[in-house]
């Protein structure tokens, strides 16, 4: 198993009262001087993770204090220059919300060259609150996502001069990107899934499917759907096609591990989102939208859960190294195994010292044992 260290580069200093941390929180609450220090600190933590033998993951969100990395390709470029050996996963590019797929192809190709072939490219549909910030029509996103993907892949793999694209959603003349990607035929591709609906298209293409905070049961269904699709095509599913992202903190003792994990819970507790941004029209199929209207609330809302709930659901791993290993192993075995653990090991007010300590204990005491999991 490969472990990837991940921080959302949050700006945790929120006002006492606010309606929605996403989309509408005024940026007067963001102090650029504090933000600058945070960027450097978070970069240092990624570099430290590399030093400890972990791979690196970053993501992108917009108009939110939970993740102040609205232009992740730039952060990826910094990491490409500052690191030397870690794989660099951007999970991912919100390509249904990006108007110029060719530009995405160029960004990723540049960073792939700069890193001498260490980039792994994620494509994500993005959470519903990205719709407003992305100024993106929420209807037919999936169709737009796949057309953008097709154009990016063609831009990466066409080496004999320009081609043109006159698609349903995107038009581009004289597509002929410089540089081309460092890796052949192109960087590895990852795609996220939060339900089984979107899995077959990922599995058919042999990409890595990554699922976030989906715990025991939903993760299991997603991985099963991937294996079933592959099997239907006469293919095995190596574990490196499957990835799981969880909140994770390792301490010397269970108490210390849980204290760190409690600080990570800022990520779920601060995620207060106004209802109109949780359920944009067309983001989910009509039947699912109808049921959501009946129930109210959001499938992304973990705010009422306690630390114990999160741990028992497999959304969070926390404790001393033995405990963390046991928790991951139980989850791993329940869902049928996976090849990548995306470690959300920093959030909210977990400070630099404690973040580094968590990374060190995980890397020294837990990761070697995870690599042995069969």
């Amino acid at each position: 198993m490969r472990a990837w260290f991940f921080t959302e580069t949050a700006y945790p200093y929120l006002p006492e009262e606010f309606d929605s941390i996403r989309v509408t929180l005024p940026n007067r609450h963001y102090d650029p001087r504090i933000g600058a220090e945070l960027y450097h600190r978070y970069l240092d933590e990624w570099l430290h993770a590399e030093e400890m033998g972990l791979e690196i993951m970053l993501n992108e969100h917009h108009q939110t204090a939970t993740c102040v990395d609205p232009v992740a390709p730039i952060m990826l470029g910094v990491l490409a220059r500052e690191t030397t050996k870690a794989r660099l996963l951007l999970l991912g590019n919100p390509i249904a919300n990006r108007r110029q797929p060719v530009r995405v192809a160029e960004e990723m190709a540049l960073v792939d060259c700069l890193s001498r072939g260490r980039v792994e490219v994620g494509f994500v549909r993005g959470v519903p609150y990205e719709i407003s910030a992305g100024n993106s029509n929420p209807v037919r996103m999936s169709e737009r996502f796949w057309e953008s993907h097709d154009l990016i892949l063609k831009a990466w793999t066409t080496h004999d001069g320009p081609f043109s694209w006159e698609g349903r959603f995107f038009h581009h003349r004289q597509v002929n990107i410089w540089p081309r990607p460092y890796q052949e035929p192109h960087p590895p591709v990852w795609i996220t899934a939060l339900s089984t609906n979107s899995v077959p298209a990922v599995a058919e293409r042999g990409y890595v499917v990554a699922t976030f905070l989906t715990g025991f049961e939903v993760s299991k269904k997603i991985f099963e759907a991937y294996r079933a699709t592959a099997a239907g095509l006469g293919r095995d599913t190596p574990s490196d096609r499957l990835a799981y992202a969880a909140l994770l903190y390792t301490g010397e003792t269970d108490e210390e591990g849980r204290a760190g994990a409690r600080k990570l819970m800022w990520y779920v507790e601060a995620n207060k989102v106004a209802p109109q941004f949780v359920a944009p029209p067309g983001y989910v199929p009509v039947e699912a939208a109808a049921q959501a209207m009946r129930k109210g609330g959001s499938q992304y809302d973990f705010r009422r859960l306690t630390l114990e709930d999160l741990v028992s659901q497999g959304v969070m791993f926390a404790g001393n190294p033995d405990t963390v290993f046991r928790q991951v192993k139980a989850h791993y075995e329940h869902v049928g195994g996976y090849g990548h653990l995306l470690v959300m090991g920093q959030a909210g007010f977990l400070n630099h010292r404690d973040t580094v300590r968590g990374i060190d204990l995980f890397a020294r005491e837990v990761y070697p044992r995870l690599k042995e999991l069969k």
Binding site: S132, V139, P275, Q276, P280, P281, G282, M293
Partner: protein, 261 residues
């Protein structure tokens, strides 16, 4: 004249079969519904059917009308209904649209009005009035749902908000209508930047109607709409919001009869 191929509440336009209400006798009235779709039990339909042959299709993607992959703009809908008028050789049609349907009606009329006798736009959207930093129509996709209801209804108590008490089918239709509305109106939001100019070429008796308590379409906006259409009239209905056909059906139908009866 080909008969209207309406059977079991369906109307076929080439390969597209739309759900439709078809009732009443009199001059033909093509009714283009707004964001909420058509409720065949609505009182205003009954009142209109006493004086007109009312044809009210569900737009593609609304109610149970299919949504072809090709469709994603008001332009598509205007051309679809032009096709309908031609196909069935309808003449002297009263074309009426509510809200989003008013936008479709206006787009249809500026393309070809030779089958139309009168145009009635009730709380229509579709034109751009304010400057680039002033949204004319509140962004209903970015407002809390209860706030949207306050803007739509003069009396918010009448708003259908008790989702828990609705059937699966009712909820499915509401979700589907909302999704299709977003598809058609997302950007430019609720308008065509060129429509206001094009309305200047219209030579068709036109009535604009606004509910006095309409929180989505302002008096100033409809004044601009009226000024854009040569000879158009604007009337205001008291104690009604964005949907006077729901809150004041009799008052609305009286105005329609006075104008087009």
């Amino acid at each position: 004249m080909p008969t209207l191929e309406i059977f079991d509440g369906k109307i076929r336009i080439r390969d597209l079969e739309l759900e439709a209400v078809h009732r009443g006798d009199g001059p033909p009235l093509l009714l283009l519904h707004g964001a909420a779709g058509i409720d065949p039990r609505a009182e205003y339909l009954e009142l209109l059917a006493r004086h007109f042959e009312v044809l009210a299709p569900s737009h593609p993607g609304f109610g149970n009308s299919p949504l072809p992959d090709l469709f994603d703009s008001v332009d598509d809908l205007a051309h679809l209904y032009l096709d309908l008028l031609e196909r069935f050789e309808l003449r002297d049609v009263v074309l009426m649209g509510f809200s989003f349907g008013g936008w479709i009606a206006a787009e249809l009329a500026v393309r070809c009005a030779h089958r139309l006798a009168r145009l009635i736009l009730v709380g229509p959207v579709g034109i751009k009035v304010g400057d680039r930093e002033t949204r004319d129509i509140p962004d209903i996709f970015a407002l809390p749902p209860d706030e949207v209801m306050r803007l739509v209804y003069h009396d918010p108590e009448k708003a259908p908000t008790n989702f828990a008490a609705m059937s699966d089918e009712q909820l499915r239709i509401i979700a589907r209508n909302r999704q299709s509305l977003a598809l058609y109106t997302w950007e430019p939001y609720m308008h065509n930047p060129k429509l206001r100019y094009r309305l200047g070429a219209l030579r068709l008796p036109t009535l604009l109607v606004r509910g006095a308590g309409d929180g989505l379409v302002s008096q100033q906006y409809l004044e601009a709409y009226r000024a854009a259409i040569p000879g158009a009239r604007l009337e205001v209905i008291a104690e009604a919001g964005h949907a006077p056909q729901i809150e004041q059906p009799r008052a609305l139908v009286d105005r329609i009869l006075a104008f087009a009866g």
